[in-house]
């Protein structure tokens, strides 16, 4: 077109024309080729070899047609300088298409004539389809040329075709994808269920050509079995089938938990609308007429698949959400005892309980600080971390509550958050095994490690302190005393108070230490825990 009024406009017009041609011309030409293959298979299957030579001829004509169409579609529509050039090309197209179409239509009709004497209904049906497709293609070509305003008789040059009406007509065509046959972004698995071989084959071919993986079933039971095992992304289901009807198959698919989520598109003849309605009420997504338009098939299939993909994505997201919640939950449980979490959740804002009998243990690593100064930082953390982890495991095993760590000191309590009779002995066990553990870890790391431990029994207040950085903590005189037991203790030994000894009773052996001055309490009788009795 002359003038550089809008080269982008020309581009758009050219692209729109190509896309239109692809859709309106290339698609029917492809359909003809598709049906031909099916007819050929039918001819073999129903043992009608006399058809084969003519079908071969038709295929040649169909190939010529497609080649012609391809050339036209790939034509560089922008390359012409004059409208007349383009118009002449379109007229040529119209002329040239008629020759192969003549052969295709003619042979199909010939075979139908001959076939009516001795052919099979399925084959005749498909041959008629070819005739229809050829007629449709022809109509498209004619219609297209009318649409873009190509008139054969122009009374005067002024009334000759100007670019404007053409552009206007082309503008009316919405911008399609550049490649009308672009494969879907996702290749999906589709199950086609139809008792009619030709229909099944044709659908299967179209879907395979569109890039999907297609499985087929020729009756209800086979379809149900396949769907349950392979869980396709979509089922195309014929309504009219002998034996188990499409409706029944649909109901069973929806009743089985394994297959209920698979979208189902029913295939029906146009006079079966009532059946279609019943099917949709029973859970079918959509329906497709038996004599379908390939573009419509793709649209329906893509739509149903997209819906399923969205549903699947949603389910996945919900699952991830659930997993995330679980993770937060377990994180929280690391910080607070389970029943405290429950109470906080149920609305308690202040958790503070008095426990009458609790045993507290403080465990402090001896000379860890100078050791830490000598070691590289990672080594320090690894060592300490290793010790604390081991103590945590011990505490979990003995059902004790680790209250906190302060530097290289470790504090554990027995008898809370749920009271227990054997709180003292549980903590004593912990102390004895912790001593061994710490020594062992120290040895394998090449250091002499020992801990001072202090143990005391008495009442405490326990609760949740803090609003943002939670902690479960204990307070009271018992806690202070336990701490003093530790600080006035001896490395490698477990220093216990009289109250703790009393709580432990005869099950354990003790060595009296003698009265010790405890800050804030004066003199106290204390002991060293030696071991189990």
């Amino acid at each position: 077109m002359h003038g550089d009024g809008g080269s982008a406009e020309q581009d758009r017009a050219a692209r729109a024309l190509v896309a239109y041609l692809r859709q309106e011309i290339e698609a029917p030409a492809a359909a003809i080729a598709g049906f031909l293959e099916i007819v050929e298979e039918d001819a073999r299957r129903y043992r009608l070899p006399h058809c084969l030579p003519d079908l071969a001829r038709m295929k040649r004509a169909a190939a010529a047609l497609r080649e012609l169409v391809r050339k036209v579609v790939e034509q560089r529509w922008r390359s012409w300088d004059a409208e007349t050039e383009r118009d002449a090309a379109l007229a040529r197209l119209r002329h040239d298409l008629r020759t192969p179409l003549n052969a295709i239509k003619g042979y199909a009709e010939l075979l139908i004539e001959e076939g009516q004497e001795r052919g099979s209904e399925a084959l005749l049906h498909d041959l008629r389809k070819i005739v229809e497709s050829a007629a449709r293609l022809l109509a498209q070509v004619d219609g297209m040329l009318v649409a873009i305003g190509l008139e054969p008789q122009q009374p005067s040059p002024e009334a000759a075709l100007s670019p404007e009406p053409v552009l206007q007509a082309l503008r009316a065509i919405p911008p399609l994808k550049r490649d009308g046959e672009a494969p879907p972004q996702f290749s999906s698995r589709i199950l086609v269920v139809d008792d009619n071989d030709s229909s099944r084959d044709l659908l299967s071919r179209h879907l395979t050509h569109a890039g999907h993986q297609v499985a087929t079933a020729s009756d209800g039971p086979a379809a149900l079995e396949h769907a349950a095992i392979h869980a396709p992304d979509l089922v195309l289901l014929d309504i009219m089938m002998p034996g188990m009807s499409g409706f029944e198959v649909l109901c069973r698919l929806k009743a089985d938990r394994r297959t209920a989520g698979i979208p189902v598109v029913m295939i029906s003849a146009l006079d079966e609308i009532d059946s279609v309605v019943r099917c949709i009420e029973a859970g079918a997504e959509d329906f497709l007429a038996k004599d379908f338009n390939p573009v419509l098939l793709r649209a329906r299939v893509d739509s149903a698949l997209e819906k399923k993909r969205m549903r699947d994505r949603e389910a996945l997201m919900l699952e991830e959400l659930r997993a995330e919640k679980e993770r937060s939950e377990s994180l929280l449980l690391n910080v607070l005892p389970g029943n405290v979490v429950t109470r906080l959740r149920s609305g308690e804002t202040l958790i503070a309980d008095r426990f009458h009998a609790v045993t507290i243990l403080f465990c402090d690593l001896v000379d860890f600080t100078p050791l830490a100064a000598r070691l590289p930082p990672q080594e320090t953390v690894r060592l300490l971390g290793g010790i604390f982890s081991a103590l945590d495991e011990l505490g979990t095993e003995l059902r004790l509550e680790r209250i906190k760590t302060i530097g290289d000191a470790y504090m554990v309590a027995g008898g809370l958050p749920g009271s227990r009779e054997d709180h003292a002995s549980a903590v004593a066990e912990f102390a004895l095994r912790a001593a061994e553990t710490i020594a062992g870890i120290g040895r394998s790391a090449g250091h002499e490690l020992a801990a001072r431990m202090g143990l005391h029994t008495g009442p405490v207040v326990a609760g949740v302190i803090g609003t943002r950085k939670f902690a479960y903590d204990v307070w009271g005189d018992t806690v202070n005393t336990a701490s003093r037991m530790e600080s006035s203790g001896v490395p490698g030994r477990i220093h216990v108070s009289a109250a703790a000894r009393h709580a432990l009773g005869d099950a354990y052996l003790f060595e009296p230490r003698g009265p010790v001055a405890i800050k804030g309490k004066g003199l106290m009788e204390t002991y060293f825990l030696l071991g189990r009795a």
Binding site: R60, R94, D96, R98, A103
Partner: protein, 124 residues
Amino acid sequence: MKRILLVEDNELNRDMLSRRLERRGYEVVIAVDGEEGLRLAAETKPDLVLMDMSLPVLDGWEATRRLKTAEETKHLPVLGLTAHAMPSDREKVLEAGCDEYETKPIELPRLLAKIESLLSGVGA
């Protein structure tokens, strides 16, 4: 049995149309280009000529003109077969001397009706 001379260069169309005409009881003689068509028209004395308008060697337009001027063939009814489908094309075909025309793809019943009417019109 009436004899039809079919002048058609496309092998598929030739085969298809001749078989369909034969099934309908016509005898079909085949020429593959305009020159052969002229020759066979004189030699085999058909009752009707089906002339594809786009032919090699000598095209259908010229072949028809010559048929209609030559003494021994000018009485022959000629039905033009063309892939040009516009009304203006019809005028061109008739101007070349064809008595009737059909556009491709052929509608056989319509073609047969035209053939029959041309055949029965002979002599009138």
